[in-house]
Structure formats: structure tokens, C-alpha cells
């Protein structure tokens, strides 16, 4: 009888906490106590025990997921650089998920990142290095860390209007367009963040 009351007391406590992880942890302890109270009965009720075990398993799985999600995630030097320059609004885990849709690529100086008139199947973000954007009949401009390459093609689906040549050795993030679009479609918050970042970049270009 004491175990039964203790179990219900713990359930009561679990309803009072705000944090979902604590709620689940206390519920698990309450469930385990309830199970103990059933096992000490002369005739343990098998159906009630079975249901309590199901609840216990679901809560344990959710607790495991919650702890994994809340665990701090270390960022590499490149990721920290991008977090500071381009994505200060993202949590480290969100940034890592976004970056993992693409891949890091290194380019030597004078390598062509984009050729004018070609349809790009990727969006690039400069991690380190400098590139020259060479437009037809317009003075070229240099871009560096934190700048996007191919973002106008990504936004419009149209061919590139400029050559982009690495001026130094470069490290870039390369996202395949289709994979990035699919990822962002499934992640509305990250889609809004990406829109914000690309929009800021585009607004600066429109002001030039």
C-alpha cells in the first residue's frame, strides 16, 4: 500500500514540473514504483503490469532521445568560424545538421568554382579564402569568408551570370541543391534562417 501511494505521489509531482525531461524521469520512477507495488501483491495483475511496462519503455526511449538532443555538441574550427560569421542565430546542433547536408571541399588558387552560363546543382559557402566574381561588362568583385557562391542560381534556378574563380586556396561548404531543398522543406525553422541569411546577402547586392 505504501508503494502504491508513493507511486501516485510521484505521478502527482511529475505533473507539477515544467521540464519534459524531468516529467518523464519522475514518471519512470513512479511507473517502476507502481510495478513494484503490483509485484508484491499475492496475485500480481498481469495486464496492468504489461501496460506499465509499455509506458516505461516508451518513456525510457524518449528520455534517451531527449538527453542525446540536449548534449552539448563540439564544433570544429570551420564550423565555429561559420557560426560566428554567417549563422549566429543557429544552435550548434542545428548548424551541424545543416552543414552535414553538404560537404567541405578544398580548392586550389585559380580553380573555377562557377562558370558563367552553367546551371549550378550546388550552393557554395566560403569558409576560408578569397574568390573573384567576374561579371560580363562589369568590374569584378572579391568575396571572402562567409560569402555565398551560386546563391542567385539557388534562388531562381537560372544559370550563373558570372565566373567565380578562386583567388587563393579556398575551403568551401558545397550543398547539393536538391538535397538542401529537401532538407529545408522538412525543417521550416532552418528554412526561415537560410532565407534570412540569403536575403541579407541579396539585399546587400541589390544596394550596390
Amino acid at each position: 500500500m505504501i508503494l502504491y501511494h508513493l507511486s501516485n505521489g510521484l505521478y502527482l509531482l511529475s505533473y507539477a514540473v515544467r521540464d519534459i525531461l524531468w516529467l518523464r524521469l519522475i514518471t519512470v520512477i513512479a511507473g517502476a514504483t507502481a510495478l513494484a507495488s503490483m509485484f508484491v501483491k499475492p496475485e500480481p495483475p498481469p495486464v496492468a503490469i504489461a501496460w506499465n511496462l509499455v509506458f516505461l519503455c516508451i518513456n525510457l526511449v524518449r528520455i534517451h532521445i531527449l538527453i542525446r538532443e540536449r548534449r552539448p555538441i563540439p564544433l570544429s574550427a570551420d564550423e565555429q568560424h561559420l557560426a560566428k560569421l554567417v549563422f549566429p542565430m543557429l544552435r550548434p546542433r542545428e548548424l551541424v545538421r545543416l552543414l552535414r547536408v553538404g560537404a567541405i571541399a578544398d580548392h586550389t588558387a585559380e580553380a573555377a568554382l562557377v562558370r558563367r552560363g552553367t546551371t549550378l546543382d550546388r550552393l557554395l559557402l566560403v569558409v576560408r579564402g578569397t574568390a573573384r566574381v567576374e561579371l560580363a561588362n562589369k568590374p569584378g568583385v572579391e568575396i571572402g569568408d562567409g560569402a555565398f557562391v551560386g546563391e542567385l542560381c539557388f534562388l531562381t534556378g537560372k544559370p550563373a551570370a558570372a565566373d567565380v574563380i578562386a583567388a587563393t586556396t579556398m575551403r568551401v561548404v558545397e550543398w547539393p541543391t536538391a538535397a538542401l531543398r529537401k532538407f529545408l522543406d522538412d525543417e521550416p525553422d532552418l528554412r526561415a534562417t537560410m532565407q534570412q541569411v540569403l536575403g541579407r546577402d541579396l539585399a546587400a547586392k541589390l544596394r550596390r
Partner: protein, 192 residues
Amino acid sequence: MILAVDQPVPSALAHATVLDATGAEVPLARCWADRDALLVFVRHFGCRGCSEHVAALRPRLDELAALDVRVALIGNGNAQYLAAFVEREQLADYAIDVFTDPTLAAYRAADFERTWLGTIGPRALAGVAGLALRGFASPGIHGDLTQQGGTLYITRAGVLAFYHRSARVGDNAHVVDVVDVALAARATEQLA
């Protein structure tokens, strides 16, 4: 009348007029005369679904302004309701124009629905219940109850780039989709 994406805005819509807060007539075409325009037609000014739409749009208004996109919100109550709506939705500090169209002429020109089903049909009522649970309150009926809203994005060249016709309360265009259209339209101009 045909409203088709990637086609010029029909002249009936371009020539429709709305009223500003002072009651002065404003031709709708003025919104896209010198820049791209996002026109959000709400239902009446007391609509919960429209309040939710504005809440989703509000944090993106600065981005749209930076892209040189004019945002205009059009309701259909009288000018007194318009002022109360601006205050309630905390829009005074944003770059947004709010108009009203009490005659519903602009709504008709935009081919938006006017239906009781969209207001008190089962899906509409379920939507209203969801909105109430999410904390969106209605101060009352401030305009035409049966008129549904919609969203249009019109480029400065007068081309319709986005069109959403609401079928019922809470059936709003997704703001991320609208921002995508704005980005694509402005990027196309930059490429040109």
C-alpha cells in the same frame, strides 16, 4: 477574370482602389508602381486566422523591407476598425501599409471567395477552435464575415508571382513560401 501566376495583373485588380487610414482612395496598382509588392488580404479586421497570419508575417517584415518589397495588408472593415487592427497587431513600427476595402471591390477583382462555408463550415470551425487554443482572440466582427482573404506577390513589372486564395478561416499562405517568392523575384532582377 483570370489571375495566373507569371502573367500580368488583370486591369480590374490594378485599377481597384482601397482606402487608407484617413479614408483617402489609393489605387491598388500604386503598391507595385516602383517596387515589388506583397498584398495580404485579410478577412474582417477581427479575424483570428488573420491575426495568426500577421503574427507569422511580422518577424519577416524587416527582411522584406530590406529586399525593397512593399507589404500591404488589406481588410474590409471601416477606418475605425483599421486603426484598432494596427494597434492590436502592433504594426505601427513596421514598414507596412494597411488599407481597407469596405466595398469588397478589390477582393472581387482578386477573385477571392465569399462564402459562409469558409466561415462556419466544419473545417472552418475546427480551425477557429485551434486558433483559440493557440491564444488568438477575436475582438468581434470588424467587417464582412463571409469574405475570405488571400495573398498576392506582384513584381514591379506588374506580373503576378504568387497567388493564394483562402478557402476558409485560417487557410493562409505559408510565410516561408511567400518569402521564397520574394527572394526569387529579387534575385531574378539582380541576375538581369
